[in-house]
Symmetry: D2
Subunit: 354 residues, 4 copies
C-alpha cells in the first residue's frame, strides 16, 4: 500500500474549517496520516496551542478529533511533516497571499475562499483584490481550476490549485448546467435564481445580522444585483452579464440552501426529456441526486454532500421551476473540498463523504 | 352618536379567526356591541359553550376577550342580536353554503375564504365548488367585491359581500399593481413571484406538513404551477394565463410572508420614477408602507396590518426585484378583513389596526 | 384635565428601550406630551439625530413612533421640556452615574438596570459598583424602592427612584411570594428555581452567545450559583443565602421566560388551599394571571404584561412544582416599568399595557 | 471470519426506527447481512412494499439505504432469513405482544419501547398493560435486562431480551448513578430532575402538541408528578417513591435533551472528589463524556451517541447542579440500541456509532 497522503487545513476556527477537520480525520484514505490543523501564526510557537475541541466544543470527544492541536501556520512545519495538500478555509485576502507561496513549494492547494474562482476581471472586481494584476496573481489565476467535479473532473485530477466553488453557486450551477449546455434554455430571456441560505453561510463572526434576534422568525433578501457568487454563475454557465438574476435570502435555519430557479426553454419540452438530460449529464456523478418532478427540500440534503435537484414543468412545456438543495457547509464548502481531494488522487468521488 | 355596529365571527377556532376576535373586541368603533363568536352548530345548544379563552389559551385573560362564549352557529341568534356584519373564517365549502343564506337575510358578509374571490370559471376550477353554476352561486359571484381596499375602496364601501383576499395574493398584488396598471411592466415577458410563508398559513390542523419536525430547519416549495391564489393574481393584475409564475414556499417561522418578485420594464426606468409610481398609487393607503430601494424584512411587518414594499433596479434600468412583506394573519387575513369593515362603514381605514 | 406627564427614556437602542418607547407613545395618559427619547451624548448636538425608526426598523411607520428623534442625553433638554419622569434603559454603571444627578434635579426615575435593586452589600458585590459606599450611592440606595407593584404598591406610589426588577427575578418572586409570606414553604429545605429565557434577555450586542448558530437548536445553562438576579430573590423573599438555587438557561426563542420552581411545604397542603393563597395575595393585581393547577406556557404571556402562574401538587401534599411565565421585555422589563409609572401617578395599573 | 449477524427492525416509520435503520446499514460488523426492515403486516404481501426512502425522504439516496424494502412483519420471513436479533421500535402495546413470540422462536430482542423496562408493578401501572400478570408477561419481565450498558454490561451480553431505556431516563440515570451508588447523595432530601427535550421525543404523529405553531417559540412543562420514565429513575437509582421529582419540558428544537439535576450531598464535597467519582464509574464507558465543572450544551451531543455530563458545586460543598445532555434519538433510543447490540456480541461498544 502506498504512503498515506499528508494533508493540512488552514483556518479551522470557522464553520467550514470545522467540517473539513471532521471529514478529514474520518476519511478512510487518510488513515495513515493525521491531518495537520493550522491557525493564525500570531500566537507564539512556544505558547500552548489550543486543541480542535477547545475551539469547537461539538468536536470534543474522549479519544479522537477533539484532542488534535491547532498549530500556528508555518510552511516549515508543513515541510517537516511532508504536507502534500493544503486546504485553505481562510478569508479570500489571505488565500491570495498564501496560495502563491504554497504553489512555489509544490504543495497542491484546495482553496475554499473566493480568491481564485473567477477568470474575468470584471467578475473579480467585486472582491477588490490588492494583488490584482501582479505576476503571482496572473499565474495563479491561469493555473486555478474551478473545483466542481461534476463539470471539471479531468482538470481537477491534475490540478495544483483547486478553487472550491461558492455555496450558492454550486446549488445554481448544478441545477442549470445540464440544461444550459444542451442548449435547451432560452438564455436571452434571462434566468432567475431565487436562493435561500441558512445562517452558517454568514460566517461565525458575531454581527448584527447573525444575531439570533435578527435572523430568527425572519427572512430577508440581500446582495440583490451584486452578490459575489454571480460571477461564478456567469462564467460556469457561460451566460451574458445580464443572463441571470441571482437573489440570496437569509433563512432562519442553521444550515442548508434551497435555490428556486426559473427558466424558459427554446422549444416545448416534456418532463421526460428534461429528466433524461439531467440523467445523462450526471450519469457518473455520485454526489448529485435527481428527484425528477418531485421537489427536494432542505432537510433532505442537510448533513450530506449531495446536491438534490428536482423540477416542475408548466403545461405549456416552455417554462420550468427547478429546485436545488444542498448543505452549504458540505457540498457548498468542506464536502466539495474533500470530493475534490478524492478526484485529485483518483479515489472514489464519494469516499469519506457518506 | 349612532348605534354600535353588531358583528359576528363564524369560525374562531383557526388562527385567522382568533386574530379577528382579538381585533374586533378591541376595535374602538365596536365598543358598544360585543362581537358574537360562533362555531360549528353540531354541539347541542343546551351543552355548555366553550369560551374563546378555552379554545385559544393565549386569549385567556382575567377580564376580557377570553371569557366570551363561542355559540353554535345560528341565524336566529344573529337575528336576535341584530348582527349587521358577519365575518366568515371558515373553509371555502362552508362559505359557499352560508353566504347566500346570510345575504338573503340582509346581513353584510366579509368572507375570509377563497369561496367568492374569483370571477373567471377557469380560475375557480381549482376549488371544485359543488354549487358551481347554481343560481345562488351566480348571484353571489356577481355581487362579491374583491376585498382589497387599496384597489377597490369605493366598491367595498357599498358591498354586501366582500371576498377577503388570499394572504399570498395580497402580498403579490400590492407589490405589482401600481407598476402593472401604469403600463410599465413588460407583462408578455412573464413575471416571477417567489413567495415564502410562515407555518400559520398552513392552518391549525395537525398534518404531516405542519408537524414541527417537518417544518423546522427546513424550506420547501409547493403548489408550483397550481396554487389557488394564482387566479387572484391573474384577475386583479389583469394578466394573461401565463403572465406570472407564482411559487409558494413553507418557511420555518410562525407567521409572515415575503414575496420576491421579478419584473421586466418596457423602457429603461429610474428608481425615482418607480418610487413615484408607488407613491402616487398609495397616496391615500395608510396600510401600505413604501421602503423605496430599501428591502423590507418579514420581522418588520409581522404583528402589524402593513404591507411593506421595497425594490432594487438593475443597472440596465430594465429589470427589478421587488420585495413585499406582510403578516399572513393580519394584512393577509384578519387585519385586512377589519380594514374592509372600516371601509364599509366609512371609518378611518386603520382604525383598530394599530 | 390636568397637564400631561412629560416622560423621557434614556437608552432606546436596546430591546427593552424599544419596547418602552412603543408603550409610552401609545399610553392613553401620556397623549398630551410626546415622550422624549435620549441616547448617548457623544454625538454632537449639531449632527443629525437619528429617528427611532432608523434605530429599530420594526418601529418604522408612515406617521407615528418611527419618526420621533433620538436626542443626545442632556439634563438641560429635559429641564426645557419639563420632564417629570426619566426611564433609564441603560447599563447599570451608567444608571449609577445618572440617577443621583436626576434626583438632585427633582426628576423621578424608573431605572431598568440592576443598579439600585439590592439592599445588602453582599448581594450587590457581584456588580462591583465603582461608587459603592459613596454618599450619593448610599442616599440613592436608601431612597430606592423595588419596583414590583404586586409587593410594594404603596412605596412605589410615592417613590422618587424606582428600581425596576430583573426579568428572571420577577418571574420567580411573583411565583413564590404568596406562599413564602404565608409561611407555607419549608425554606430551610431549599427552593429550586430552574428558569429558561429567550435570547432577547441576553441583550442586543452581537456576541458569541447571541449568534444564531450558538443559540438555535440548543439549550445551555449559565451563571449557576452566581447569577446577578439571585440577590433580588433572597431580599424580596427574605430567604437565607442558601435558601434558593437559581439556574438560568438560554432558550432558542426570541422572548419569554418560564421558571419551574420546586418547593416543599411545612404541612400537607391541598391544591385548593394553594389556589386560595395565591388568589388572596393577587386579588388586586391585574397583571398576574392565576392558572390554578393548569401550567402556563411561554407563548401565552409573550407580548403581554402578564405574569402567568400555575402549579401541580404531589400526592403527598408536601411537594409542589410551580410554573411561572412572562415576557422578559414586558413584565420582565419595559411593561413593568410602565406599570410602575401608572402606580406612581395613581392611574389604573394596567393602563397602556393591554 | 464468522458469519454476519442478521438483524431486523420492526417499526421503521418513526424517528427512532429511521435512525436505527441508518445506523445498522452502516454498521461495520453487519456488512455481510443487510438488515431487514419490517412494518405493519396489514399490507398484503402481494402489494408493492414501500422502500425506506419512500417513508423517510431524508434516507433517499442513489445507491444505498433508501432503496431497501420495508416488508410486512412476519416471523416466517425472519426465520427464512435467519434473523438473530430483532429490534422493536414499536408502541409498547405491540412490544408486549411480539416479544414473547420472538423469544419462543429463539430470537434475541432489543425493544425500544417502555414495555419491559420496569420491574415493580406499581411503576408499570401507568402503562396499563393488558397482559399484566399473564404467564408470558411474567416470564418476559423476569428475563428482561435494562439496556443501559454503563450499568448492566454483563447482563446485556448474555440477554435474550434487552429493554432499551427511555430517553429522559438515560440522561438522568447516567448523571446520577455514580454519585448515588457511591452513597454521596442525601436521597432523603429529594432529588430534582428538570429535563427538557426536543420535539422528536413526542413522536411522528401529527398532534396539537407537535404542530409547529404549538412548539415553536414556546416552552411547556408536562407530565409533572406522573411521567412514565419516573419508574425507570426510581428502579435504576434505587430511590424511594418520593426520592425524585422529574419534570419534562417540550423544547422548540428538533432533537436533544438537557437535564438539570439538583442534589444535596451527605457531606461537604470538593469538585475534584465528584470528578473522581464520575471518572471511576465511567472509566470503561466510551459513550459517556465527562465535562468536569464545565456544563455541556445540547448542540454538543446532538447527532452523537454520547451522554455528556458536567456539574457545578455550591460554595458550601453540599449542593450541586448537574447538567446532562444527549440526543434523544441516539443515546436516548436507536444509538443505545446499537450499543446494546455491540455489547450482546462482544464487539467494541462504540462500533458503528461514531
Amino acid at each position: 500500500m502506498s504512503k498515506a497522503v499528508q494533508t493540512a487545513v488552514m483556518g479551522v476556527t470557522g464553520y467550514a474549517g470545522a467540517e473539513l477537520a471532521r471529514l478529514l480525520v474520518r476519511h478512510p484514505r487518510l488513515k495513515g496520516a493525521t491531518p495537520v490543523f493550522l491557525g493564525r501564526a500570531e500566537a507564539s510557537r512556544d505558547a500552548k496551542v489550543p486543541t480542535l475541541g477547545e475551539i469547537h466544543p461539538h468536536l470534543h470527544d474522549s479519544h479522537g478529533t477533539g484532542n488534535l492541536p491547532v498549530e500556528p501556520f508555518s510552511f516549515e512545519l508543513m515541510e517537516d511533516l511532508g504536507v502534500e495538500v493544503l486546504f485553505l478555509a481562510t478569508p479570500h485576502e489571505l488565500s491570495r497571499e498564501l496560495v502563491p507561496q504554497a504553489r512555489k513549494r509544490g504543495i497542491r492547494v484546495i482553496d475554499l475562499s473566493g480568491a481564485w474562482r473567477l477568470e474575468a476581471g470584471e467578475n473579480r472586481a467585486v472582491y477588490r483584490f490588492e494583488d490584482e494584476g501582479s505576476a503571482d496573481a496572473l499565474q495563479m489565476q491561469a493555473e486555478a481550476v474551478y473545483g466542481m467535479p461534476e463539470l471539471h473532473r479531468a482538470a481537477i485530477h491534475g490540478a495544483g490549485l483547486v478553487a472550491n466553488p461558492g455555496c450558492y453557486a454550486t446549488s445554481v450551477i448544478l441545477a442549470l448546467k445540464p440544461l444550459v449546455q444542451a442548449g435547451l434554455v432560452e438564455v436571452e430571456h434571462g434566468i432567475i435564481a431565487d436562493a435561500k441560505s441558512g445562517v452558517s453561510g454568514a460566517g461565525k463572526a458575531p454581527t448584527a445580522k447573525t444575531h439570533y434576534m435578527y435572523a430568527a422568525d425572519n427572512l430577508s433578501a440581500y446582495g440583490v444585483f451584486g452578490h459575489r457568487h454571480t460571477g461564478e454563475l456567469l462564467e460556469q454557465l457561460e451566460l451574458p452579464a445580464d443572463g441571470i438574476i441571482f437573489t440570496p435570502h437569509l433563512l432562519p435555519i442553521p444550515r442548508g440552501i434551497l435555490s428556486t430557479i426559473y427558466v424558459r426553454f427554446r422549444e416545448e419540452m416534456t418532463s421526460a426529456a428534461i429528466e433524461a438530460c439531467y440523467a445523462r449529464f450526471y450519469a457518473h456523478s455520485p454526489m448529485v441526486r435527481l428527484y425528477g418532478t418531485t421537489l427536494p427540500q432542505i432537510q433532505q440534503s442537510v448533513r450530506t454532500n449531495y446536491c438534490d435537484i428536482g423540477f416542475q414543468l408548466a403545461k405549456d412545456g416552455r417554462r420550468a421551476v427547478i429546485v436545488s438543495c444542498l448543505d452549504n457547509l458540505l457540498k457548498g464548502a468542506a464536502g466539495q473540498a474533500v470530493q475534490n481531494l478524492n478526484v485529485m488522487y483518483g479515489w472514489a468521488e464519494a469516499e469519506g463523504l457518506e
